[in-house]
Symmetry: C2
Subunit: 103 residues, 2 copies
DNA sequence: TTTTGTAGTCATATTTTTCTGACTTATTGC
DNA sequence: GCAATAAGTCAGAAAAATATGACTACAAAA
């Protein structure tokens, strides 16, 4: 059995794991949209042009696995699913902003 | 003609470009080693196990292009080449460290 | 002068990531 | 009941990233 911690410890560079959390063609964009408001599968598919079901599906699952997003089933009116940014996700935002300012 | 700035502005998410600077299998490790001391092609090839000439060559060129490393020809004794971390590179280090602490 | 070390390039494989299109299950609106 | 929307899965195709092995050019050492 391989835990998340072991995976990170196997990395030669500690930041590598962190960078990986957001590596992938669509993850960062999904993440940014989720910062503004909870996101939904079907609207992401429409909003993010050039994206596709499969890739978004994988990206959302992985963002969930690393606990940057949380999947929530809304059992109201038109019953749907939302992905919310977690506290861990929120904690990354200021660091990412710093990165932006560096360029 | 496409400038670096245009490329960045085409990104939907501003941090995307930044994350890309260090995306790739070996870049972050090269970058970390270059923080400790200037690095050389042949020693990287020995130090970074699992790596190969081609990939290191490409990674070094790209790190140079985005101005995180600078290539310097040492015309002394055994005439060789060193890659030095630039001020821009150095400025990223504390942000990367913050990222590490986030996990 | 033949070998060794450094710093690569080039063409070609192999691997990994991403995309496409068909299909599924459940709910809701008409 | 019938079509539409939401949220996917799956197999296979295409594209992008990495790796391999052969080769080059130059300098220095034996």
């Amino acid at each position: 059995m391989t835990t998340k911690k072991e995976l990170v410890e196997n990395e030669t560079c500690p930041a590598q794991g962190l960078l990986k959390l957001l590596s992938g063609k669509w993850k960062l964009e999904i993440f940014r949209l989720a910062f503004d408001a909870p996101v939904r599968f079907s609207s992401l598919l429409r909003q993010i042009e050039g994206s596709n079901k499969q890739s978004l599906s994988v990206a959302l699952r992985e963002l969930e696995e690393v606990e940057l997003l949380e999947k929530i089933v809304i059992t109201a009116k038109p019953l749907h699913i939302e992905y919310h940014m977690t506290p861990k996700g929120k904690s990354m935002v200021p660091v990412l902003k710093q990165l932006e300012n560096l360029l």
